[in-house]
C-alpha cells in the first residue's frame, strides 16, 4: 500500500476546490442582500471553471492515494469535467428560475456544489466505502434540492419520494457491499478483483451481492425496474433541479457502476452481463413506450431519461475499451442535450405559469423562432438524428455492442430509437405545426441564454466533429483497461 504523501493532496485538489467553493458560497450568502443572490451563481460558475482548469492540469496523472481508497486517473478526470460542465450549466439555468419560484436562496447553489463534490468522489472512489460516501453526499444534497420549493406540494412530494426510495436503495446497496466484504475480506476494488481471481470462493453469495449492487446503482441511474421514482420526482422537483439531477447523479451513478463492475467484478462478468443486459432491454422498452403516452413534458423527459439509461447500459454490457468509452461519450453527450431540453422547459412560461405541458409548446415557432429552433435541435439529438451529438452517441454505443457480439441488443436499441422518434417529433410538431394558444412569456435572462448557447454548441459540435471527444474518452480509460 502506498504511504501517505503529497500525492494525496494533489489527487483530491479538485474536490477540495469544489468543497471550499461550496463553503464560500454559504459564507457569502450571509453577506449578500436578499435579492442579490445571483452573484453567488456567477461566483460558483467561476469557481467551477477554476476547478476545471486545475483538473485538466492533472490530466495524465495516475495517482492511487489514501491507501487505495481514492484514485485520480483519466477516467475520474473525464467524469469530473462532465460534472463541472453539468453543474455550471445547471446553475446558469437556475438563476432566473429560482427567482421566479421564490427559492432564491444561497444554499441552492451551495447544495449543487456539494452534490457535485459527491459525484466527484464517486468517480474517483476506488473503494466501496469512498464510493458510498460520495454517493450519499450527492444523494443527500439532491434530496434537499428536489424539495427546495418549500411551499409547493408537488415539490415536497417529489422530495419525499426521492428520499424514501433513494434511502431504501442505498440500504440495499450497502447490504450488497457488506456481503462482498464478508466474502472477500476487503472493500477495496482491486482487492476484491484479486480475491475473485484467486478462485478461493465460488458460491452464490457473490452473485447475490452483485445483484444487490445492481439494484442499488440501478436506482441511481434510473434503470427499469428501479425507475418508479423517476417520473414523479422529475415532474415534481423544480425544473432547474430536475435538469441537474437528470444528468449529474445519473452520470455519477454510471461512473461508479462502471468502475465497480469493470475493476472489482470482472471475475463474474458473465453473470452481471446477463442481468445488466436485461435491465438495458427493459429500460429501453418501458422508457420509450411509456414516454409516448405522456402529456407533461417533464414526465416525458423522465421516461426518456430511463430509456437513455438503457442505451448507455447497452454500451456497458458490451464492455472492453469500446464499450466503456462509448458509455462515457454517451453520458457526456446526454448531458448537453438533456440540460438543453430542460433549459427550454425552464424558459417557457405560458400565461404566467410554468409551461410544463406538451400543449404549452404549441405554436412556439410562431412566437419565438430561436427558442423553437433550439428545442428542435435538442429533440432531434435526443432522438438520435444526425448531425446532432445524440446520433454520434447512439452510433458509438451500438457499434460497441455489435463489435462485442451483442447484435440483438443493438437491434432492440435501434427499434426503440425508432419508437422514440415519435414522441420527440411530437414536441417539434407542436411547436411548428400547431397554432399558438394564449400568451407566451419567455423568461430568458442572459444567463439562461448563455447556458442554452453552450448546450446547443456542444450538441452540434460533437455531432459534427466528435473525434476530439472520442479520443478524450479513449485516452481516459487507457490506464484502467
Amino acid at each position: 500500500m502506498p504511504s501517505f504523501s503529497m500525492d494525496n493532496m494533489v489527487s483530491i485538489l479538485p474536490e477540495m476546490i469544489v468543497l471550499s467553493l461550496a463553503l464560500a458560497v454559504l459564507m457569502f450568502d450571509l453577506a449578500l442582500p436578499k435579492d442579490e443572490k445571483r452573484y453567488l451563481a456567477y461566483f460558483s460558475v467561476a469557481g467551477l471553471a477554476i476547478a476545471g482548469y486545475q483538473t485538466m492540469n492533472l490530466a495524465g496523472l495516475q495517482l492511487d492515494t489514501f491507501y487505495g481508497m481514492f484514485v485520480l486517473d483519466g477516467y475520474a478526470i473525464f467524469f469530473k469535467v462532465l460534472f463541472y460542465i453539468a453543474a455550471a450549466i445547471a446553475i446558469l439555468i437556475s438563476i432566473g428560475y429560482v427567482k421566479g419560484q421564490e427559492m432564491d436562496k444561497g444554499e441552492y447553489y451551495a447544495l449543487i456544489l456539494f452534490a457535485t463534490a459527491g459525484m466527484m468522489v464517486m468517480a474517483s472512489g476506488a473503494d466501496l466505502i469512498s464510493i458510498y460516501l460520495g454517493l450519499e453526499l450527492m444523494a443527500l444534497s439532491v434530496y434537499i434540492l428536489a424539495g427546495f420549493m418549500r411551499g409547493s406540494m408537488k415539490s415536497n412530494e417529489a422530495a419525499l419520494k426521492y428520499f424514501l426510495l433513494g434511502a431504501f436503495s442505498s440500504g440495499i446497496l450497502l447490504y450488497g457491499i457488506a456481503i462482498i466484504y464478508g466474502v472477500t475480506g476487503t472493500t477495496n476494488l482491486a482487492g476484491i478483483a484479486a480475491f475473485i481471481q484467486s478462485g478461493q470462493y465460488s458460491g452464490p453469495a457473490l452473485t447475490l451481492a452483485m445483484i444487490l449492487l445492481v439494484a442499488g446503482f440501478g436506482f441511481k441511474v434510473a434503470a427499469v425496474p428501479f425507475h418508479m421514482w423517476v417520473p414523479d420526482v422529475y415532474e415534481g422537483a423544480p425544473t432547474s433541479v430536475t435538469a441537474f439531477m437528470s444528468v449529474g447523479p445519473k452520470a455519477a451513478g454510471f461512473a461508479a457502476f462502471l468502475r465497480v463492475f469493470t475493476t472489482a467484478l470482472p471475475g463474474i462478468q458473465p453473470d452481471w452481463t446477463v442481468i445488466i443486459a436485461s435491465l438495458a432491454i427493459m429500460s429501453m422498452l418501458i422508457g420509450n413506450v411509456v414516454a409516448i403516452s405522456q402529456t407533461n413534458i417533464k414526465r416525458m423527459l423522465a421516461y426518456s431519461s430511463i430509456a437513455h439509461a438503457g442505451y448507455a447500459m447497452v454500451g456497458f454490457v458490451s464492455g472492453g475499451m469500446q464499450g466503456v468509452s462509448s458509455v462515457m461519450m454517451y453520458l457526456f453527450i446526454y448531458m448537453f442535450m438533456n440540460l438543453g431540453a430542460f433549459g427550454m422547459v425552464v424558459m417557457l412560461r405560458k400565461d404566467g405559469v410554468a409551461g410544463e405541458e406538451l400543449k404549452d409548446f404549441a405554436g412556439l415557432a410562431k412566437k419565438n423562432r430561436t427558442a423553437a429552433l433550439l428545442m428542435m435541435v435538442f429533440m432531434f439529438s435526443l432522438a438520435g438524428i444526425p448531425p446532432t451529438a445524440g446520433f454520434m452517441g447512439k452510433f458509438y454505443v451500438f457499434m460497441a455492442a455489435i463489435d462485442a457480439g451483442f447484435t440483438w441488443l443493438a437491434i432492440i436499441g435501434v427499434m426503440m430509437s425508432a419508437v422514440s422518434a415519435y414522441f420527440y417529433l411530437r414536441v417539434i410538431m407542436y411547436m411548428y405545426m400547431k397554432e399558438p394558444e394564449g400568451e407566451f412569456e419567455l423568461a430568458a435572462p442572459l444567463s439562461l441564454k448563455l447556458a442554452m448557447a453552450v448546450a446547443v454548441l456542444g450538441v452540434l459540435y460533437i455531432g459534427m466533429a466528435p473525434a476530439g471527444l472520442i479520443d478524450f474518452a479513449r485516452i481516459s480509460i487507457a490506464g484502467m483497461m
Binding site: 443527500l140 434530496y143 434537499i144 412530494e157 447490504y175
Partner: protein, 100 residues
C-alpha cells in the same frame, strides 16, 4: 462464542423486516424507521464480519454509515415536516398529487 452464521441470520432477518416494512407500510415515519432497520442490519453484518475476519475495515465502515444515517435522518425528517406543513398527513396514500 456465537458463530458467524447466527449474526448473518440475524442481519438477514432484520434486513427482511426492513424491506417488508418499506414495501407494505403506509405511514412515512414507519417506512423511514424500516429504512433505518435496513441500515442497522448492514451494520450488524459488517461488525460481525469485521470481527471474524480480523479486519478493522468493517468497523470503520459502520461509523461512516452511522454518520450518514444521522444526516439522512435529519434531512428525511425535515422533508417530512415540510410536507406536513403543507398537507398535514404522513400517510403515503394521501400524498398522491402525482401517480406513484
Amino acid at each position: 462464542m456465537v458463530p458467524l452464521n447466527w449474526y448473518i441470520a440475524l442481519s438477514a432477518a432484520v434486513f427482511c423486516i426492513g424491506v417488508a416494512g418499506v414495501l407494505s407500510r403506509r405511514n412515512i415515519i414507519i417506512i423511514f424507521l424500516s429504512i433505518e432497520l435496513i441500515l442497522n442490519s448492514v451494520n450488524i453484518l459488517l461488525v460481525a464480519y469485521s470481527h471474524f475476519l480480523n479486519s478493522m475495515r468493517g468497523q470503520v465502515f459502520v461509523f461512516f454509515i452511522m454518520a450518514v444515517a444521522a444526516a439522512e435522518a435529519a434531512i428525511g425528517l425535515a422533508i417530512i415536516i415540510a410536507l406536513y406543513r403543507n398537507k398535514e398527513t404522513v400517510l403515503t396514500d394521501e400524498i398522491n398529487l402525482m401517480k406513484w
